[in-house]
């Protein structure tokens, strides 16, 4: 375990982490192999070793998995280009009929006075305030736990770790009842407040901060008379950024995809996020007198995943180092 942990600190690939190695100087040697060759960087395709033969066989097996992962997304794209009639009378995995993607998008955005756009705005609000707030709180608290000793610290840690095991959805019903007594249901607060807590994020920042923010640096800042919070915002935050972005990514995905909580908390569609709205559109077909709008459900689904997929690809170079710190050190 020790050798693994030493390896954990210079978490693969990230420039910021590399610099930290230089400051602490502690972990760098572990990264060199006995021949003095550095481990290939994460960005290079050659991973994990040296002079290895590529295997066509393995690539083919993985290609099957790749098809499994991407096929449904391809299906979604293909079918968002079809009108409802064509949808029912064509082969699902290829284009057919007129290319009506843009017509579908127009119809999706305009349906019911543009409620899709309203839901999109709600989702963005929940993501910005909820995921942003969750990341901020988790970073502050994780850093506090990693870098300060204070009375009751063990208790805080036990409670937070215990909370990871409590099924969030099992709490949803009691949370709803409590919020309805407080008059918070049917308001954005009912969605935002519970999203603000990410025990996993706190845990990740905590493990990350231990290695990436050198205690000597904090001591030096104290000597210079900087306040603790000023040190945090001017020095530590920058060092924490790979971990912080990892947490942001995961809380963003969680809030963007949140379904159960808004389903319970909101009875009117005004504050719906996209997920609950889409499901309502889908259910519409099975209710008496409801109009089936499968083409809009499919196009809406397609539009829903585009922003989050872009954010995902954009931030992907940061997951690595952040996750490595969190997953290795239990």
């Amino acid at each position: 375990m020790t050798s693994v942990q030493q390896g954990a600190a210079p978490a693969p690939s990230n420039q910021p982490t590399d610099k930290i190695d230089a400051t602490t100087g502690r972990v760098r040697p572990a990264r060199r192999s006995s021949t003095g060759q550095r481990r290939p960087r994460f960005a290079k395709p050659q991973e994990g070793g040296f002079r290895k033969k590529r295997s066509v066989w393995l690539t083919v097996v993985m290609a099957v998995m790749l098809v499994y992962a991407l096929l449904p997304l391809f299906w979604l794209f293909v079918n968002s280009t079809k009108t409802q009639d064509v949808l029912f009378n064509s082969f699902g995995l290829w284009f057919s009929g007129d290319f009506s993607l843009f017509a579908n998008i127009g119809e999706t955005l305009a349906y019911h006075d543009g409620e899709f756009i309203r839901w999109f705005g709600n989702t963005v609000l929940y993501v910005v305030v909820g995921a942003g707030g969750a990341t901020f709180l988790a970073t502050l608290a994780g850093y506090g736990l990693a870098k300060y000793d204070f009375p009751g610290k063990k208790g805080v840690f036990a409670v937070v770790l215990g909370a990871v095991a409590v099924p969030g959805t099992a709490l949803a019903v009691p949370t709803f009842l409590m919020f309805s007594q407080l008059g918070l249901t049917n308001t954005p607060w009912a969605i935002i407040l519970p999203s603000l807590i990410s025990p996993f994020g706190l845990y990740l920042i905590w493990t990350y901060a231990i290695d990436s923010v050198p205690t000597e640096l904090l001591e030096a800042a104290r000597m210079d008379g900087a306040g603790e919070f000023r040190t945090f915002f001017t020095i530590s935050l920058k060092l924490l950024s790979p971990g912080l972005i990892t947490v942001l990514l995961f809380t963003m995905v969680a809030t963007w995809n949140n379904y159960f909580l808004p389903l319970i908390m909101l009875s009117e569609s005004t504050w719906y996020p996209l997920t609950v709205g889409l499901n309502q559109w889908n259910n519409q077909a099975s209710t008496a007198g409801g109009e089936a709008i499968y083409n809009l459900v499919i196009t809406g689904s397609f539009l829903t995943i585009i922003p989050i997929v872009i954010a995902f690809l954009f931030m992907q170079r940061y997951w690595q180092s952040g996750l490595a710190a969190g997953s290795v050190k239990q």
Partner: protein
């Protein structure tokens, strides 16, 4: 903090006092998290326990009934039915998903793959897709009206088993969940594999160890922590199963009952049946069951570590 010390008298303070002050600084960082935490996590748990001890009665209104809601749940065939279903789901789906994830992570880490970073990103991508969209997508594909199953049936003139029928629906849900989370687990394993020191591989290769041997003796033991964490998260996820069956319900109303999973049962008790107290008791039982099983997984994982 700085402003506080500026207000302090000019005489030098004893060092002990200053250190004492520092001792409480950590709280300032942790407090905002804890306040919200108390409001949205601790308070609902306490409230749920409180609720579960009462019962709405026709005469006399809300009355304290002790543990009667719990005993009712433990002898409720619907509850056991739903619990049995998620237990079965857990035993089949979680090993398959984690096995696939482990295989993919080892393959990508092995450096024997063409285009490995493309594989890594693509297989992780489904994690970003909301459960609602994933379920609708797969649900449509399962369908025989305009789904792929219907296409295949027409094309080959055969009759595939309906994925949304009674016998198959749990498997179909398992497939959706696997699709959503296999990449996430792969990434956790892969991140752990990446930090193993290359010295170990070199030494093993000098000793003539095969790739298979390296995987078994170096890689797997080194990432045991990650495997345990992924196992715990998957167990928790299985017990909480709600989104996928709830959304599929509109596509397969006759196969997915209101007590398909414990969470759906608790939800339907509250929102269709107004049985809040009973629902709270079921939520608490599920919380305890999950915590116990997560604890067992963690213990059995770390015991082997010695």
């Amino acid at each position: 903090m700085t402003t506080l010390s500026a207000d302090a008298p000019a005489t030098p303070r004893p060092a002990a006092l200053r250190r004492d002050k520092r001792r409480w600084t950590g709280w300032a960082f942790v407090a905002p998290f804890l306040v919200v935490f108390a409001l949205v996590l601790v308070a609902p748990v306490i409230y749920a326990i409180y609720l579960s001890l009462f019962k709405e009665q026709l005469i006399g209104g809300n009355a304290f009934v002790g543990i009667s809601n719990y005993t009712q749940a433990l002898s409720d065939p619907k509850f056991w039915d739903s619990l049995g279903r998620v237990a079965l789901f857990l035993c089949v789906q979680v090993p398959i998903m984690l096995g696939l994830a482990l295989f993919a992570a080892l393959a990508i880490d092995s450096a024997r793959l063409y285009l490995s970073s493309f594989f890594r990103i693509s297989i992780f991508l489904p994690y970003a897709v909301p459960a609602v969209v994933a379920t609708l997508m797969w649900g449509f594909m399962y369908g025989n009206r305009f789904g792929l199953v219907g296409n295949v049936n027409d094309f080959f003139g055969i009759q595939l088993p309906d994925p949304l029928s009674n016998n198959w629906v749990l498997l179909s849900i398992g497939n959706i969940v696997t699709w959503e989370f296999v990449g996430y687990n792969m990434l956790i394993f892969y991140a752990a594999l990446r930090v193993i020191s290359t010295d170990l591989y070199e030494a093993a290769e000098l000793d003539g160890a095969s790739q298979w041997r390296i995987i078994r003796s170096i890689k797997l033991p080194a990432i045991r922590g990650a495997i345990v964490i992924a196992g715990i998260f998957s167990v928790i996820g299985s017990f909480q199963l709600f989104n996928e069956p709830n959304i599929l319900q509109s596509l397969a109303p006759n196969t997915i009952s209101t007590f398909f999973t414990p969470n759906m049962y608790a939800y339907n008790l509250s929102f269709s049946g107004q049985q809040y107290n009973y629902s709270a008791a079921i939520a608490i039982i599920m919380g305890v069951v999950t915590a116990v099983i997560a604890y067992i997984v963690q213990n059995s994982g770390s015991r082997k570590e010695k």
